[in-house]
Amino acid sequence: MINIIKADIYRLLRTKTFYIAIAVMLFMIFLSIYNVEVGCIGLNMNGAAPFPEQQTETMHSELENMSLDEIADLSLSEYRRIMLNAENYELDKNIIAENINLYYIFIFIAVAVIASDLSSGCVKNTLSSSIGRNKYFFSKIIFSHICCVVILFANTFLSYFANRIFNSANISAELGLLLKITAMQIPAILALASILTGIAFIVKKTSIFNTIAIPFIMLAQLLLMGIVRISGVDNIMNYELQVIINRLAHDPTKEYIIKSYAVCAVIIIVTDIIGYICFKRSEIK
């Protein structure tokens, strides 16, 4: 297993995909830092999920005294000046609260590590020699997950330092807190990674993988919202992945942590099992 992981590190460093992924991550951080605002890839969930248990502290800034038209007329440098002086606003914490954004980086990883191997037929070189399907499957899964966790922490560190350097310490949280939040987010991140690796092992072709994986998050969210509307059970939205990642950044209750971790565990187990079954039975072209 270690051999396969070592070989994959060797290969990863020599493919474009990996460097593109890092570039995208840096770009996303740059955008957030520069605009002093966090974008997100999924649907805007802030209204959808009810927050009965906790109080979130609200931000205070000059924006409160301006009308919407005036805010829209602000130039970027003006906006930055205002935001840098805001109170109760921690940019880096908000950035990592929207770590669902890392989903697109993870797609690159899944493609580089798994999909390209299966798609190009190179997997037959591995499987026809001493490495069995089980070992191959687990090594790839473990390696992708490790990569995703490394990216998760890299994202946190980079956001923190970039924020402190280019913006001001005023709108920055403590590194210790950020790391704690990041560590808490690990199961959710692993769930994301599992979904992607599962899809990769099921479809095996890079083109199909991209077609499914890219809109997947949004489609899943839409589906969940539809279910909520039909069944009327609002609580389900609390356990959607984007919401989980967000809430873990905002001082969640112990009960919530346990429940959300359970959801993540289920996702990880189910996707891995499905991926494994599909891979084990498949014909290698």
């Binding site: 270690i2 051999n3 070592k6 001493s130």
Partner: protein, 297 residues
């Protein structure tokens, strides 16, 4: 305080990890060596973790394994070739013997005139002489292999021995319209050597050139820090492997049909080396060159 504990914990974890890796690797190497011993295989040892010092160890083991594989395959080739040679030799020995017996029976059984009987007795003699030669060379060679014979060294005139050998073969060459040309500017070169072995070396080389070469044989003697004697002649062989010709089992296709055992040049090499010298061969543009170097006084 907490920081210290964390650092200490991290360092111990890393060390433990490395230790476990090392153990896994060592166990893995033992297991693989076990399997390799059990099968006749070309497999080499693989590393399970890629750890550096184990990798160096694995490389050393693999080099040894490769050597063992090579020795095994060489051994198989040699024993196959030995079988082959045994068959050839027994065939070679049997042929003149059978022929001689046949002629004897002929003389015994039929009524033939005296002159014919004499002729046939001559033929029988020739066959038996050939048989004797073959048995001699085989016996000689087996003695060399067992290395029980040490050459007696005395002061020898190399040129005289060379001339004696040339004289032995003069008639044979002449009858094929071929000549032996000796290029030498001295009449005497004294060496500490063994007369019989030198004679055998030259005999074999001249005989070899007679059998396998064509045209004239040129023998060149040069004296520098050692004595160099070169034997050069044309050759019709398509392909001479100048490394393998000194191999006791090597015969090209053509020589097999001429009834050679391949021992001639092998004896040349062995004897030359026993006398402290070196032998080498070159084959280019249809010319076969063989060089003997003997240490001078």
């Amino acid at each position: 305080m907490v920081l210290c504990t964390i650092i200490f914990g991290a360092v111990s974890a890393i060390l433990l990890f490395l230790l476990i890796m090392q153990k896994i690797e060592t166990k893995n190497i033992s297991k693989q060596l076990n399997e390799i011993k059990a099968h006749d295989t070309n497999l080499l040892i693989h590393s399970k973790t890629g750890e550096k010092t184990s990798a160096a160890l694995i490389n050393e083991i693999n080099e040894l394994l490769l050597e063992i594989q090579k020795i095994r395959s060489d051994h198989q080739k040699k024993s196959h070739a030995l079988e082959q040679m045994m068959t050839n030799i027994s065939h070679d020995l049997r042929t003149p013997l059978t022929s001689a017996l046949g002629y004897i029976r002929l003389i015994q059984n039929s009524d033939i005139p005296e002159e014919e009987k004499l002729l046939e007795l001559e033929i029988i003699e020739k066959r038996l002489i050939r048989l004797e030669k073959l048995i001699n060379s085989f016996f000689e060679f087996s003695m060399i292999i067992s290395e029980s014979k040490l050459p007696e060294i005395s002061e020898i005139n190399v040129i005289a021995v060379l001339e004696e050998s040339v004289a032995n073969y003069y008639d044979d060459y002449n009858s094929h319209n071929r000549q032996i040309i000796i290029n030498c500017d001295r009449h005497k070169i004294m060496l500490r050597s063994n007369r019989n072995m030198l004679l055998r070396i030259f005999d074999n080389l001249l005989g070899n050139a007679l059998k396998h070469g064509s045209g004239d044989l040129t023998v060149t003697v040069k004296m520098s820090e050692n004595v160099q004697i070169g034997f050069s002649n044309l050759s019709n062989d398509k392909d001479i492997d100048t490394e393998q010709i000194f191999d006791e089992f090597y015969t090209t296709d053509i020589s097999r049909t001429k009834g050679n055992t391949g021992l001639g040049l092998a004896i040349v090499k062995q004897f030359t080396e026993m006398l402290g010298g070196k032998v080498s061969a070159k084959f280019a543009d249809g010319i076969f060159d063989l060089m003997i170097k003997l240490p001078a006084k």
